[in-house]
């Protein structure tokens, strides 16, 4: 068994490449989907009935399907409609779209719990429209939703493992290759799991820090 770990460690380059790919895939799609979610959340509370309802419809559908299904839709179904994307484009866009739906819904939820008086104080002090959202509302809903956004980020990391099925060389994909070549499944997967655990624990640690911020800076 020690010898098997030796084989796995000998392949550390492959695993490190997979790990780093997973890290940047998650960081990039996390950041982009959060940015998109900020705009989508504004549509979710739009005063225009049609805008609000149709956006909510799309968000609800996305949240109701398994990520793997969305990935298949993008990777297998779009080509039949003559839309051909590289596997990288497919994987990243599926992750981003899927998480945007979750992030946007989380922000909308936090917004609905923000006391109306906060928005009103902003308006009384000359804020309106986008500036009101950016300076007064958004910081408060980020503080309130921080821990939930962090948990969703952990889900994003785990969903990213599905990208191996469309041949993206993430940590799961590389671990699978290593175990297949040397036939040491137990040890390889143990190492991969440990790496996922480190990544998710780091996020978890950040979430706890955000909890403490919310205690002081959140609305009562």
């Amino acid at each position: 068994m020690i010898a098997n770990f030796g084989i796995v460690l000998g392949e550390w380059r492959s695993l490190a490449t997979g790990f780093l790919n997973t890290v940047w895939i998650c960081a990039l799609s996390g950041a982009l989907s959060l940015l998109l979610a900020v705009f989508v959340s504004m549509l979710l509370v739009s005063r225009r009935h049609g805008v609000r309802r149709s956006t909510q419809g799309v968000v609800d559908v996305l949240r109701a399907i398994p990520f793997l299904m969305l990935l298949f839709i993008v990777y297998y179904c779009l080509p039949t409609l003559h839309v051909r994307l590289s596997s990288w484009t497919c994987g990243l866009s599926a992750l981003i779209v899927y998480n945007t739906a979750y992030f946007a819904e989380i922000l909308r939820g936090a917004w609905s719990h923000l006391p109306h008086e906060q928005e009103e104080a902003g308006r009384a002090y000359g804020y309106t429209g986008l500036r009101l959202y950016r300076r007064i509302i958004l910081p408060q809903i980020f503080i309130a939703a921080g821990p939930v956004l962090g948990n969703q980020m952990i889900t994003l990391v785990k969903n990213s493992a599905f990208l191996m099925v469309i041949t993206i060389p993430d940590l799961t994909f590389m671990a699978n290759q290593v175990q297949a070549i040397y036939f040491v499944p137990f040890e390889t997967i143990l190492v991969a799991v440990a790496l996922y655990w480190i990544l998710c624990s780091t996020i978890e640690w950040t979430v706890r820090r955000m909890d403490r911020v919310a205690l002081v800076r959140g609305h009562e």
Partner: protein, 261 residues
């Protein structure tokens, strides 16, 4: 504040203001005038429309009818140089609201910002003043309300009385032409009311123009230049405080005052 001292004439003038929420008539034909440096206290039973009146003055609620003038400029109406009138855009209206300083019953400080940041937020980001100037002025205001040592604290760490004093400083930081107080002591524990009223008394003495909706009879009696009583959305009586409290003209006010005697 000093930049509009010495100008006589009304700062705020309200004529025939009416507001309904659905079938509920909250204000009906309310008129008032507040001259520079004067304090008007608005009294009346709960649900009489006092808060709605304040919120209509700075157009947080849009009145159904009537006119609000701030130094002769009609709130909510933009007048082009050629004299044509149109409704203000949201942005123009927001800009005009900064000329009213509003103090809320529930303080409504922004919890994500420190005390100092609460004071400089709107001066910098709405009024476009420089950060250095805004900070200097905010620090002077914190000295004045005796909370300089709290400048880096978040609102959650303050007592109710401290929060309301900071909220008053936040309003002053915009150099408003008039301060609007919406029952500023109603959600405070009794022992914290005094510190807030003390700050407000100082402001009246300094010649700050103020409209104060309150249940504090003592404050109205001592600090107001004029007292207005409204009931069911209608002005019942407006008088100087001595007259109002000792010899009210209407039976309705006499009845109201008896409960505080």
């Amino acid at each position: 504040m000093s930049d509009h001292q010495g100008q006589g004439g009304p700062v705020v003038e309200v004529r025939g203001l009416s507001k309904s929420f659905g079938p509920l008539r909250v204000l009906h034909g309310v008129s008032l005038t507040v001259s520079a440096g004067r304090t008007l206290c608005v009294l009346g039973p709960s649900g009489s429309g006092k808060s709605t009146l304040l919120r209509c003055i700075n157009f947080l609620e849009r009145p159904d009818a009537g006119v609000v003038l701030l130094r002769g400029e009609q709130v909510g109406v933009h007048r082009t140089p050629s004299g044509r009138e149109r409704a203000m855009t949201d942005r123009e209206l927001a800009r005009m609201r900064t000329r009213f300083g509003m103090v809320f019953q529930q303080f409504n400080l922004w919890p994500h910002l420190t005390v100092l940041e609460n004071l400089i937020e709107s001066p910098i980001h709405v009024q476009g003043r420089s950060r250095g100037e805004a900070v200097t002025e905010a620090e002077a205001l914190l000295d004045k309300i005796g909370l300089r040592d709290k400048r880096e604290a978040y609102p959650s760490r303050l007592s109710g009385g401290q929060k309301q004093r900071v909220a008053i400083a936040r309003a002053l930081a915009m150099r408003p032409e008039v301060l609007l107080f919406d029952e500023p002591t109603s959600s405070l524990d009794p022992e914290l009311v005094g510190e807030v009223l003390a700050v407000m008394r100082d402001l009246t003495r300094e010649g700050q123009t103020m409209i104060v909706v309150t249940h504090e009879m003592g404050f109205a009696r001592e600090a107001a230049d004029e007292v207005m009583f409204i009931d069911e959305g209608v002005v019942v009586e407006t008088a100087a405080p001595e007259r109002f409290f000792s010899n009210p003209a209407t039976a309705r006010v006499r009845q109201f005052l008896q409960r505080f005697a």
